[in-house]
């Protein structure tokens, strides 16, 4: 992707089809954030239906490449949530997340992905309201930014990957 770096990629202002709905993938740790998302449900909070949750045991499992892979497969936004620092079920898995995700955020901007499309926050098992607010926030931001459609952009630039290939970009 090095050859694509010098040219900034426009990600705003494209006309979205009327039927377009933001597609956002959220990676949540099982012990705090996933339970926090459950807490939002138990409290019957309402939030937009655009965020689909994928659970992992610990936010430390969230490989930065899972984030970029989600964008490469057509996500308009990605969310990463884990336990608050100090509350990790695995002592310090989230410390690694804390180190990785700011780098991911910067890398995404360099790849031409607006920072509004990526949200990294800590959500405890009790913070259903915070989770609902985060979903509101990222959905609003992504809706304003419009479709990202990275698979098409990558195709146009001849970058391998995206849909139509195997799960890891291989044909």
């Amino acid at each position: 992707m090095a050859e694509a770096a010098p040219q900034p990629v426009a990600t705003k202002g494209e006309a979205a089809p009327a039927s377009w709905e933001p597609r956002i993938v959220a990676f949540l740790c099982y012990w705090c954030s996933y339970t926090g998302a459950d807490a939002a449900g138990t409290a019957r909070l309402k939030y937009p239906p655009n965020v689909d949750i994928i659970r992992v045991m610990c936010s430390g499992r969230i490989d930065p490449e899972l984030v970029t892979a989600a964008f490469a497969r057509g996500a308009d936004g990605v969310m990463v949530c884990g336990c608050h620092i100090g509350d990790c079920h695995y002592i310090a898995g989230n410390h690694k997340t804390m180190a990785r995700m700011p780098l991911v955020a910067r890398t995404l901007v360099q790849l031409g992905i607006d920072h509004g499309r990526f949200v990294h926050e800590w959500v405890s098992a009790a913070e259903g309201d915070k989770f609902a607010a985060l979903v509101e926030r990222i959905t609003r931001q992504v809706r304003r930014l419009g479709p990202l459609d990275w698979p098409r952009r990558m195709r146009e630039r001849g970058v391998p990957g995206g849909r139509g290939l195997g799960p890891w970009g291989e044909p």
Partner: protein
């Protein structure tokens, strides 16, 4: 992305799979919002899905029977259930598929209640979201592989660390269930913090009488070995076989010592008596308190000069001043941590503490009220007792960041210490009984006499004329020298109950109802890799459902190492920890989730990045093969090493890249309705 290439289990498996999808109505909880029939119909078109159906209550007996029946009838090899949160029924359905002869990890749970039907209002949007999640789960299911739960044999023995009331109860309960127990206490005497109390709320019983009975019960148990002056210095192994290294300080005294009083009297060295919170001094050879256990003195090596005067006073028998510490190794199946708490030590000048001799902590007052205490139960003064006493609650508890000075760890103690309200009122009533003329004022934020029969203390204190002044935590009371000559001190506070009236209350004695901080066990924390909460207390697996277990399998929590508790609660927690530990031992083996990491030796370059990120030191380097190796017994399945491996040589069972990516892929694939439109447009 390209180099993320090989996944441990490729999609080849998916072509062979026969997936059954069951979508739950949850009696309307789901089906009122989500069109479950449409979700099932859309799932049925996924590759590999041979059955997709909806059912009113999949978790009910008929629902589970349906799953079992279909597994047998259609030879299903993967099962997806879309229902409530996996925290509720994942285990239920795993057992269901297990009963039907299918490996329980070939089951995939989708949450369409807490995360769909309860949070999305629009029926179309909810149905589409549920459909996406169910199809993603079906895609993931085809990548699942059978996994076996890890089983580790377990020794029928326990190590209890801490000889306070919680440790004693845990040890006694474990021994009565037939376990061999080793109780280690790093001080020379058992009893812990409870021994420093006088009478207990809510029964008014004498603390040390109660404790003596418990110690006798414990010490009499033939299965319990008590080690005092014992420091845990190292630990290896895992649940089932913990190998703990313990350093035993010499006691300096043995059972041949016949007249301990003579030895103590002969000792010329004096030091601060921490048992009385520095209110008294003790000798270098000492008994912590009357009736202590073991019932013989110990030598405090930090203050002993080895002058030998004690030895001469007892005729040269029973005292050994030349003893050296020795190390032993203990093999136990489980560990109970009962390391307790320390009372919060106010900072110099906090509410005048350390500046004015009339400012005491509640613990010091309790020592002074104790007839066996440093003053024989009398308060300092001319015998008439204090005329005016001010109690200040929430000292070192419920602190406000920016108002109260942080402790040495940089944090304020913002949690409620739970015992000090009732404790302070209990002491106030006792004071009132001894000195009926004493006038008492209690400065509080909230009175939290939350326990059973504790509220009576508040009511009785109010009846007896204790004046309650509610202060604003943002403007805590100030203790100052009285400018007049009514009394030595004056407490100034804004009383919220009278609309913020500025009060000046003269005081002869100010008692700080201090909070509870965890005993410093940083070495044990790193040794056992315990999770610690923001309040620095140990963190249980789940505060409600698994309250006495640490995330480290085989390590249990008893008492105040987990948070402020009164004796009732500490004993309940200790008994709970003992029964949990005994239940684990009774099974003969421990079962653990199989979500461990696996290293693909062909891909591993031996860079050792994974060694640095593993919080459990579960990864070692195989020097001969120059690869990393994961210990199944130590790995807890967080997956941090997977994310850090630059060669993608590590995969986490149950959460492989292929499994996660198949979910991402399906979630982002065109939705069925769109597919139709696109297909028409394209042709």
């Amino acid at each position: 992305m390209a180099h993320l290439g090989a996944a441990a289990d490729g999609p080849a498996d998916s072509r062979a799979s026969r997936i059954g999808v069951f979508v739950c109505h949850c009696g309307g909880n789901i089906s009122d919002v989500v069109d479950v029939e449409r979700v099932a119909a859309e799932a049925a078109r996924m590759p590999g899905v041979v059955l997709a159906t909806a059912h009113p209550f999949v978790c009910s007996d008929p629902g589970q029977a349906l799953i079992e029946e279909k597994i047998r009838e259609l030879e299903l090899d993967r099962v997806v259930v879309a229902a409530c949160s996996p925290t509720l029924h994942q285990t239920t359905f795993r057992r269901t598929v297990d009963r039907a002869g299918l490996n329980q990890y070939l089951f995939e749970h989708v949450n369409v209640r807490e995360q769909v039907s309860w949070v999305v209002e629009d029926r179309e949007a909810a149905t589409r979201k549920a459909s996406r999640l169910v199809r993603a789960a079906a895609a993931r299911a085809s990548h699942l592989v059978p996994l076996e739960r890890r089983r580790i044999p377990i020794q029928p023995s326990a190590l209890v660390i801490g000889g306070g009331v919680a440790g004693l109860v845990a040890a006694r309960d474990l021994a009565r269930r037939g376990m061999k127990v080793t109780l280690v206490e790093n001080r020379p005497f058992l009893g812990g913090r409870m021994a420093q109390l006088h009478t207990l709320f809510p029964t008014g019983e004498n603390a040390r009488d109660l404790l003596a009975g418990l110690i006798q019960e414990t010490a009499r148990e033939p299965r319990i070995r008590v080690l005092t002056g014992a420091h845990v210095i190292g630990s290896e192994g895992v649940v089932g076989d913990f190998r703990t290294r313990v350093r035993l300080e010499p006691r300096g005294v043995d059972e041949h010592l016949t007249y301990p009083g003579n030895a103590i009297a002969a000792c010329p060295e004096e030091t601060i008596n921490e048992f009385d919170f520095a209110l008294s001094r003790r000798k270098a050879i000492y008994m912590a308190y009357p009736g202590c256990y073991p019932p013989m003195p110990a030598v405090d090596w930090r203050s002993c000069t080895r002058c030998g005067k004690c030895l001469a006073a007892v005729g040269g028998k029973g005292i050994d001043l030349e003893g050296e510490p020795r190390e032993i190794e203990l093999h136990t199946g489980v560990i109970v941590l009962a390391t307790g708490y320390d009372p919060y030590e106010p900072l110099y000048g906090e509410y005048g503490y350390g500046i004015f001799p009339q400012v005491l902590t509640l613990q010091q007052l309790i020592r002074l009220l104790d007839p066996e205490g440093p003053s024989g139960g009398r308060l300092p003064g001319n015998g008439a007792g204090p005329g005016r006493v001010a109690f200040i609650h929430c000292v070192g508890a419920r602190q406000v960041d920016g108002v109260n000075a942080p402790g040495p760890d940089g944090k304020v103690r913002d949690y409620c210490a739970r015992t000090c309200c009732t404790g302070a009122l209990h002491a106030a009533l006792e004071l009132k009984e001894r000195y009926p003329r004493a006038r008492m004022t209690s400065f509080y934020q909230d009175i939290r006499t939350y326990g059973r029969f504790h509220e009576e203390y508040y009511e009785r204190a109010a009846e007896k004329g204790v004046l309650f002044v509610r202060y604003d935590p943002n403007h805590p009371p100030r203790v100052e020298r009285d400018r007049g000559d009514h009394s030595p001190l004056v407490v100034r506070a804004k009383d919220l109950l009278t609309g913020g009236l500025e009060l000046e209350v003269p005081a002869d004695l100010v008692v700080l109802a201090t909070g509870v901080v965890p005993h410093d066990i940083s070495e044990l924390i790193s040794m056992y890799r315990c999770a610690v909460g923001y309040d620095s207390f140990l963190l249980e697996v789940h505060p409600k459902l698994r309250p006495v277990e640490l995330a480290v399998s085989g390590v249990f929590l008893a008492g105040c190492c987990q948070g402020p508790m009164d004796i009732t609660e500490a004993c309940a927690a200790a008994s709970a920890a003992a029964s949990k530990a005994a239940a684990m031992i009774a099974q003969g083996q421990v079962e653990m989730d199989p979500f461990v990491s696996r290293v693909d030796e062909a891909l591993c370059t031996g860079c050792q990045t994974c060694l640095t990120v593993c919080p459990y030191e579960a990864i070692t380097r195989d020097v001969a093969r120059r690869v990393s190796r994961v210990s199944d017994a130590l790995c807890t399945g967080c997956g941090t090493c997977v994310a850090s491996c630059p060669s993608n040589a590590i995969q986490q069972c149950g959460f492989t890249d292929a499994q996660v990516i198949s979910e991402v892929d399906t979630l982002l694939a065109p939705e069925p309705a769109h597919e139709l439109v696109l297909a028409q447009g394209g042709s």
